[in-house]
């Protein structure tokens, strides 16, 4: 027997970085094969190459089923013909449509005399579900299913034709990231069955327990290189963590610790709701506290709940001794909180409004003397453009005309104008170029020197090491670890994130 999938010396160079270098490994037919790696290890780049979303560098090759393709000419249709099926994190289901309709998306609906044969369609869908032991009725709207069942429906859609042997490989990209723990086990045991029946699975995950308990083989990538492909049997948690994290040196010089005032600016006690399960935190005045955690750990929920975007199920937030009204953004802003969200386009930018209006959006009140004074507003905008080196045609230019990095500087400047007591930053430099990044760091540090406290959520370990005075590790909605700046290393953070207990009894 050959292989279900084989990468041969696949590389991918982006301008300025090499995301993958000469990665080679194979997936055996019928194997439950895990692909693991940390931040920037290249595993999602590899998946995107397999899907034909990215084109790899010329020299490598991808072999799948009976066919082979040069790595730089893999297209979505080649990938589909070769029998590779993907279930992405976003399942791509239509919530208001029934399971049967979802299963037939992209296929010809069965018809009689031109009209859709609903009964035949439902029957075919139900047969497929029964064969794959998906415990749902084909007539149910997908939106009303549990998350695990939705994932199973997405998988069933991929495996619809698998009885005919057309699906050579099922690729699952972090399918459990959004699932509650109880449903994770259900999903995984179903995957075990499929693998036992001969279905090859490539399973991308960062959850070590899942890999150790369910996969038979694991491939580890680190910094775009292939580290190991080996049987899971005989591998323990510590060894796997070691493979993923490696011997990492700190590239940045340790800076001198910042002097931090003893007063506590933010107190979070027992905060819960959504993925949060009782968070306790203190951020002191002039301190940068970084939150490290994997996706699904509740990082974004934590800052959003503190800021009042979600009403917490329990617990409280105090800013300088004042208790915030739960679930009220205006109250949080009034108390001196500021929030730079991760998704700038959806949650922060007024792209069709002028830069001056974007900059004043959080501090409109100060321009009201009887009515809104445009003069001072424009003067302050010109001042901020200079101070934060925002490159723009002028203060009235629409924000959408600016580059991403300059938009991000403007969003940060918007909040710094309010002289916030506490700055909540969610991935503040994601998708921002190196130059703008350095400027953003300088501004954050300046604000901190002025007494602002920062709660920083970031996936970028270098950013975390550069800025943080203290780091807490978040896993499964709880703080599982904490360390001071001088004790924090890349290795510590990476190890703690991956090694955090993932099941809480």
């Amino acid at each position: 027997m050959g292989t279900a999938l084989e990468f041969v010396r696949v590389s991918k160079t982006f301008p300025g970085t090499r995301a993958l270098s000469e990665v080679s490994f194979a997936v055996r037919p019928g194997s439950f094969h895990a692909l693991a790696g940390g931040n920037g290890s290249g595993k999602s780049t590899l998946i995107k190459i397999l899907a034909g979303v990215y084109q790899a560098d010329p020299e490598g090759e991808v072999r799948c089923g009976g066919s082979a393709s040069a790595a730089d000419s893999v297209t979505p249709s080649w990938s589909h013909r070769a029998g590779v099926r993907f279930v992405h994190q976003d399942l791509g289901l239509f919530d208001t449509m029934t399971v049967a309709e979802n299963l037939f998306v992209g296929r010809r609906y069965p018809r009689t005399a031109g009209a859709i044969a609903w009964t035949a369609m439902r029957r075919a869908a139900q047969e497929c579900l029964d064969r794959l032991r998906v415990p749902v009725d084909a007539r149910t709207p997908v939106g009303s299913l549990r998350p695990a069942d939705q994932t199973l429906v997405a998988i069933a859609r991929c495996l619809f034709d698998s009885a005919g042997g057309e699906v050579s490989l099922l690729v699952l990209d972090e399918p459990t990231a959004r699932l509650p723990q109880a449903e994770v086990d259900e999903l995984l045991s179903r995957l075990d069955e499929y693998a036992a029946n001969g279905q090859s699975i490539l399973y991308v995950s960062h959850r070590l327990d899942e890999i150790l308990e369910h996969a038979d083989t694991v491939t580890v990538l680190r910094d775009g290189r292939h580290v190991a492909t080996r049987p899971v049997a005989g591998l323990d948690r510590a060894q796997l963590t070691g493979l993923i994290v490696g011997q990492q040196r700190d590239l940045v010089e340790k800076r001198e610790p910042r002097p931090i005032a003893p007063e506590v600016a933010v107190t979070v006690r027992g905060l819960s709701g959504g993925p949060l399960r009782g968070i306790d935190l203190d951020v002191r005045r002039g301190e940068i506290l970084a939150v490290a955690g994997l996706v699904g750990s509740g990082r974004t929920s934590l800052v959003e709940t503190i800021f009042g975007v979600h009403r917490p199920a329990g617990g409280r937030v105090e800013v300088n001794g004042r208790r915030l009204r739960p679930g009220s953004v205006p109250d949080a802003v009034a108390a001196g909180l500021a929030y730079v969200p991760e998704d700038r386009a959806r949650h922060a930018a007024f792209t069709n409004l002028g830069l001056e209006m974007n900059l004043s959006a959080a501090s409109l009140r100060r321009y009201r003397r009887g009515w809104l004074r445009r003069g001072p507003e424009l003067r302050d905008a010109a001042e901020d453009i200079r101070r934060y080196s925002i490159r723009a045609p002028g203060p009235r230019a629409a924000l959408g005309q600016l580059s991403g990095g300059n938009q991000q500087k403007a969003i940060l400047a918007r909040w710094l104008r309010t002289r916030p007591a506490v700055l909540l930053l969610d991935e503040p430099t994601q998708g921002v170029d190196v130059g703008a990044r350095a400027e953003i760091y300088t501004q954050i540090e300046k604000a901190v020197d002025g007494g602002t406290s920062v709660l920083l959520v970031t996936s970028d370990l270098d950013e975390l090491l550069h800025l943080a005075d203290r780091v807490v590790v978040l896993a499964n909605g709880r703080v599982t670890d904490t360390a001071r700046q001088r004790d924090v290393t890349r290795e510590w953070v990476a190890t703690r994130m991956f090694d955090a207990p993932q099941e809480i009894p």
């Binding site: 982006f14 999602s44 949650h347 930018a349 209006m357 959006a361 409109l364 580059s403 994601q430």
Partner: protein, 349 residues
């Protein structure tokens, strides 16, 4: 997972981040004349139409007279004020399809208060405006706090008000409007029809509200990006609710003016203003500040249609010309606005 997938890939996908690409600048300068045409196209077209009707033999006798100009301005004042009413919530991307019905209802209310209850005229006028504001408040409350679709709610309100109008008037036409109100509707101050003064005052007030108050700025922000508005601490729901209340009050002003111009109130009179009002706003959104709903644009929109139809009518066009012209203008304007918006989005990318 953002941790592994996010940072590095996103970084390299946007390698040209930082300064805007140099090409953008030069393109912008070469696009100048085109942008000017886009911004003032409708204004120029309006000017062209005026010149045309002044010179065309079929209309050149009557069209350029003072009487005709007064006639157009006074006649359109009700529509302009109704359009300004619809403009306020539209800035926050909410439709008010009940403006016409509110105009009708408030004119009935004012007439009732003045004639049947025999209260002083000032109270009757205030009553009319307040009824408008109250209806708007109900619209706004449902739309803002129940997150209901503004189209459906205001359409429903419109139907409901039509029924109430009939109930109130019992198919009668209310007459006997106090003389001072009739004078206001039909006489002039300083040679300019009094309704035009009201039009100017209302336009200035709405322009001030939208451009120079926190409320107006919030509406603009909500129209631009509603989640972002919430996340800078703006009271989005309250602002939306107040927008409809203001809209209702301004529609109430239009209702009082309708009563003053016609001297009578009857169920159903005034409901026809809704679509021409929205049409004018959309027409106006293609000009001066393309892509944005503005007071100036709305004025241009109303008078573009009014002047055209006036000229055509003077030239002997039949009744069907008006709705055809009005409808065609809207369809073309909204298509043009969509094209502009798409182009803008592409340019921003």
């Amino acid at each position: 997972m953002t941790l592994s997938a996010g940072t590095r890939d996103d970084q390299v996908q946007a390698p040209h981040d930082g300064a805007p690409p140099p090409a953008g600048r030069s393109r912008r300068t070469t696009a100048w004349p085109l942008e000017l045409v886009e911004r003032f196209g409708l204004v120029l077209l309006l000017g062209g139409i005026v010149v045309f009707f002044c010179l065309w033999p079929a209309t050149s006798d009557v069209f350029p007279t003072v009487a005709n100009v007064r006639n157009i301005a006074a006649n359109e004042s009700i529509l302009v004020i109704a359009a300004l009413a619809a403009l306020i919530p539209l800035v926050a991307e909410r439709f008010d399809l009940s403006v016409g019905a509110i105009v009708a209802t408030t004119s009935i209310a004012t007439a009732k208060i003045a004639t049947e209850w025999e209260l002083p005229l000032v109270l009757a006028i205030a009553g009319g405006v307040l009824v408008g504001a109250a209806i708007g408040l109900v619209n706004g409350f449902l739309i803002a706090y129940f997150n209901a679709n503004s189209l459906v709610i205001t359409l429903g309100m419109s139907t409901l008000l039509a029924g109430i109008g009939v109930l109130w008037t019992g198919y009668q036409t209310l007459l006997g409007v106090p003389q001072p109100l009739l004078d206001f509707g039909n006489l002039s101050w300083l040679g300019i029809p009094r309704p035009v003064w009201l039009l100017a005052a209302t336009a200035l007030a709405v322009a001030f509200l939208l451009g120079f108050t926190m409320f107006g700025r919030r509406l603009l922000a909500i129209g631009s990006n509603e989640p972002a508005s919430r996340l800078v601490g703006m009271p989005v729901s309250r602002t939306v609710m107040l927008a409809f209340a203001c809209s209702g009050a301004v529609a109430g002003v239009a209702g009082v003016l309708l009563l003053a111009r016609t001297g009578s109130a009857a169920a159903g009179v005034g409901t026809g203003y809704t679509l021409p009002a929205l049409a004018a706003i959309f027409l106006g959104s293609t000009t001066i500040r393309p892509g944005r709903f503005t007071v100036a644009g709305t004025l241009v929109g109303v008078f573009f249609v009014a002047v055209s139809i006036n000229g055509l009518t003077l030239a002997g066009a039949e009744d069907w010309v008006e709705p055809v012209f009005n409808g065609a203008a809207v369809v073309l304007a909204v298509s043009a606005a969509a094209v502009i918006a798409k182009k803008r989005k592409r340019a921003a990318r």
